[in-house]
């Protein structure tokens, strides 16, 4: 199957600086439909029926999240768009915002109406400061045309918040801390954000790509959307492909498409050894399993696809992967802070061919401990690719052991 553009349907078609080109592609028809014809409950029902799940990596059902927030008690409620995209190998949200900021804002307004939130934040990573201008320009044109307010009572405001350089702020509770002006330390859960989030108010946090699907579902109907993809993964997925490929870039495929199609047919990879699906925190797919379908049931993450060819040193790649987490851990919980530090020490030793047998056992034990007991997704997912490579390529690790 070739590319199938749903999320990216306007990218390259509209001018991101000109709302008229967006309106020419039926822009704001979904928001109008929602405000004119649908109750908030009806909107949530439609999203639930579509089967849409979060595209930031966790895959939580979007409609359910919205329903929790809608039913939660609170004078103020918030919609947050997570544009912190910090996962290694991910750049799809940058691509989307650069090309179609309007759909994103329209989607946030629909979310605001559905949960009863008058305010939305777009949390933009510091590295994406340049996107702020595109978003502000889109926002001012939208406001000028009056799309975000209705005399009947609907009124929605969007504010852009910028990070200051911290991977962990892509984690939803750390992100809220950051919007509140604090260090990006993860919070204990429960309470979950839909009941108690930003400034203790009910809050939904959705990834850029998740939101981009909303106006499409409203316009074309949940049946159309749920007709795409697999049993538990509906719609399409946008992938960021990098590494040892001839054509790195952003590709959108129907959920369930085989990994081979994406990296061999579209990105033109050759001599593949393995693929990291989901970025640094993702899973490893060895070449032998290249026909694995991409879906929540199998492997997906946020859609970062890093391809490694046969010339690469697996242990060294894992050292670089863990180096990332060791630096980005917020340090609040011990398993993540100390676990990553210990793993990095061991992997560095193995890279130099100075490891010992007990090192591999320590990697196994540390991984298990971190996955079970870390406070947030960062520490829980950090060992994923080490666990997988130890499973598939244990002989390579063993070849780095000095004594026996």
């Amino acid at each position: 199957m070739p590319e199938h553009k749903v999320v990216l349907q306007n990218c390259g078609i509209i001018n991101p600086n000109d709302i008229n080109t967006y309106l020419a592609e039926d822009g704001f028809k979904a928001l109008d439909k929602v405000l004119d014809e649908m109750t908030p409950q009806k909107v949530i029902e439609e999203i639930k029926k579509s089967g849409l799940r979060g595209r930031g990596g966790a895959g939580f059902p979007t409609g359910l999240k919205w329903e929790f927030a809608n039913k939660a008690k609170g004078e103020l409620k918030y919609v947050i768009c997570n544009a912190d995209e910090g996962e290694v190998g991910t750049f799809k949200d940058r691509y989307i915002i650069e090309r179609d900021p309007f759909t994103l804002i329209e989607a946030m307004a629909i979310a605001g109406y559905a949960i009863g939130a008058p305010k939305g934040y777009i949390y933009l990573r510091a590295e994406y400061h340049k996107l702020r201008g595109i978003l502000l320009n889109a926002l001012s044109q939208i406001k000028e045309r009056g799309y975000l307010s209705r005399s009947g009572g609907f009124n929605f405001e969007v504010e852009i918040r910028e990070g200051a350089g911290a991977y962990v702020c892509g984690e939803e509770t750390a992100l809220m801390e950051s919007i509140e002006g604090k260090r990006g330390d993860a919070r204990y859960r429960p309470p979950f954000p839909p009941s108690e989030g930003l400034w203790k108010s009910p809050t939904i946090i959705n990834n850029v790509e998740t939101l981009m699907n909303i106006p499409r579902i409203i316009s074309k109907g949940s049946e159309w959307f749920s007709g795409l993809g697999t049993e538990k993964s509906k719609g399409t997925k946008v992938f960021s492909v990098s590494g040892d490929v001839a054509r790195p870039g952003v590709y959108e495929l129907v959920m369930g498409s085989p990994l081979r199609e994406l990296i061999e047919e579209l990105a033109l990879a050759k001599e593949i050894m393995m693929v990291q699906v989901g970025g640094a925190s993702g899973r490893i797919v060895p070449y032998e399993k290249i026909d694995t379908p991409l879906s929540f049931e199998t492997v997906l993450g946020a859609g970062a696809i890093i391809v490694y060819n046969k010339s690469r040193d697996i242990v060294d790649l894992m050292r670089k992967t863990i180096e990332f987490f060791e630096e980005e851990s917020c340090g609040k919980c011990v398993p993540c802070r100390e676990g990553n530090r210990m793993m990095l020490e061991i992997l560095t030793r193995l890279t130099k061919g100075q490891g010992s047998k007990i090192d591999l056992k320590h990697l196994d034990d540390l991984s298990k401990t971190m996955m079970l007991s870390s406070l947030c997704g960062l520490g829980q997912a950090a060992p994923n690719s080490v666990v997988d490579t130890l499973n598939y390529y244990r002989d390579v690790y063993e070849s780095r052991i000095k004594d026996t």
Binding site: E85, G89, F91, E180, G181, S240, I306
Partner: protein, 147 residues
């Protein structure tokens, strides 16, 4: 009280804007000094500790003076396999400094950072807020000459 810092503070709502205030201070002065942090703490009616813990948490904020232009070279895996180490070698040679240092004329600071979301154009770097990808020796020299 530093007048221009109070100006930045008054343009914001309150302590929820601490990161924006620090970002703007950084943007204007190239770093956030201890004195400025103390002014911000007083202006927002929070403790100095609260300001320091935020200022030292985020990698884009610096409590030490940096150069006028900050070069951030990505060192995450997609850039690693596209040989960012070569990029660093070229930059170190061109600028006459090591990673983490600032040129004597304070024009450039060279930093190594984690994924900047430009893996499709690895190896990549940012200078201030602009992305530069598909780097090689010739391109790096040309980019530097524009500053």
């Amino acid at each position: 009280m530093d007048k221009s810092i109070s100006e930045i503070i008054t343009q914001h709502k309150g302590k929820e804007d601490l990161i924006s205030i620090l970002n703007e201070t950084q943007e204007r002065y190239g770093y956030v000094s201890e004195e400025q942090m103390s002014t911000i703490a007083k202006g927002l009616d929070i403790s100095m500790g609260e300001v320091v813990e935020v200022a030292t948490f985020y990698s884009f904020l610096s409590t030490e003076p940096l150069g006028k232009n900050i070069i951030r070279v990505c060192k995450s895996t997609p850039c690693y396999i596209k040989d960012y180490i070569k990029v660093i070698e070229i930059l170190e040679k061109e600028l006459g400094i090591k990673v983490g240092e600032t040129t004597p004329d304070r024009k450039f600071t060279l930093q190594l950072v984690n994924c900047i979301g430009a893996c499709d154009m690895a190896p990549a770097m940012m200078i201030n807020h602009t992305l530069y990808g598909n780097l090689n020796g010739e391109r790096i020299k040309k980019i530097l000459s524009e500053f």
